[in-house]
Amino acid sequence: MRAFLSQLRWQFTLLQKNSIISISFAVTLIYGIILYFSKEGGYLDKVLVAMVLNDPSVIGYFFIALAIYTEMKHGILPALFVTPVNLHQLLIAKTLSVSIIGVICLLGLVISVKGFDFGIMYYTLGSLGICVMSALLGLMMLTYANEFLKFAMMSVPVFLAFFNLPLFHYLGGVDMGMIKYLFPIQGSVDLISNAVSGTEVHLWYSILSILIVVPLFYMLAYRLFARKIVHQ
């Protein structure tokens, strides 16, 4: 546990030194200001959930990839892999660090418009679910592209499938019916929606889906990373 906490601390240090924390907070602040001045609009909750779905997915998905591409570019990964570093600890620390930043940003976003008048437990759990899933998805996808630009191009269909379809459904743009329950982030979306608007939530489904999807994503990300990045 001590070794893991040490890795987590180093990951936060790296995020901070590479200005990723500052950028995340700055973007959230801009979103927060926009939301604050849109308070009187009738679609505030919908806009809030839409932003919640975009902000952490970007932080988790892109920033974890950016951090690893930077390590690749500077040849740091081979140096890491000839140490006794525990790959599980390393990947979980990377995932958790960007996810915690994401959750803090999301809490800032909701507090800017709702104060503390929202379901903080469900909101935090839903946010953490989306942040962790998006970071793990970023880890998986980066194993298929050897440079960030290619990764970004490949991300368009991935974003559509994983984040935008559930969002369109939530906004009422498309009706996915029961299919929506197959989306990995649907459980988190339901929790967040319930937390900010009091909409119906099937708690067992939401929690179960997060408990199933996160380990599944992690297992896939770990295997891909070990096979395609560590052992080339």
């Binding site: 390590e71 890491l80 000839v82 140490t83 006794p84 570093v85 560590v230 080339q232």
Partner: protein, 284 residues
Amino acid sequence: MMIQVENLEFQYPGNDGPTLKGLNFEIDKGEVFGFLGPSGAGKSTTQKVLYKILSGYSGSVRIDGKDLSGWNNAYFEKIGVGFELPNHYLKLTGKENMDLFASFYPNGRKHKIEELFGMVDLQEALNKPVETYSKGMKMRLNFIRAIQHNPDILFLDEPTAGLDPVNAHKIKQHILDLKAAGKTIFITTHNMHTADEICDRVSFIVDGELKVTDSPQKLKSQYGREAIRVELKDGKKQEFPLEKLGENRAFLTFIKEAEVKQIQTLEASLEEVFIQITGKSLAS
């Protein structure tokens, strides 16, 4: 025997043929062993197999008497790797880079950080971001990062590349000190002077095959000539065998004929031996 390699073959996925074609070599504990060859010969691939970055090889690799595949993560506590190019977190300071890597080892760092930085004259740069370091400074940081956990085996890829002569000399001296402390050191380089100065034995590798393995001294005497060439200021030149040179009347007479301009040994350089054996230049 610290490292034993038998019939090592490796082929990268998608390549037409193998990069390593049945390598055989052994490295004793406390030996400095050099792998010499041009770019693309298979030097780095061999090292990558030995430090477990590449799997899927055939043949046998035994480290300290145990098959490489049988080693768990503890293997990485036993080895230290100095890479050919600098590879550090540029936004972190030199000390932070060292601390981060030391955090991966259960027993942490075995030397004081100030001593390590002092070894390679980087004391002043201890708390400066690595992005402000020159390439030579980053290479010296590579070196101390590789030895900070006091490994038994060191893999050094071009350890003097990018260093000025003074610092290159210091690194070579540190390598000899590590050898004296019983460390096993496996160097890959295309710098014949470095190999000649610090290696106990060298192997020439070309196109994934080892052509010869022996001490630099033996190779130079075997492929060179044990003779000297004398040039006088009047332009005359003559060669004499080294054997019983002081009793060689022709030599003694010759050097009295005019003032001596220069005397050269005709021992082959390691580079000349390499070219003779492999038919290739190290620059290729």
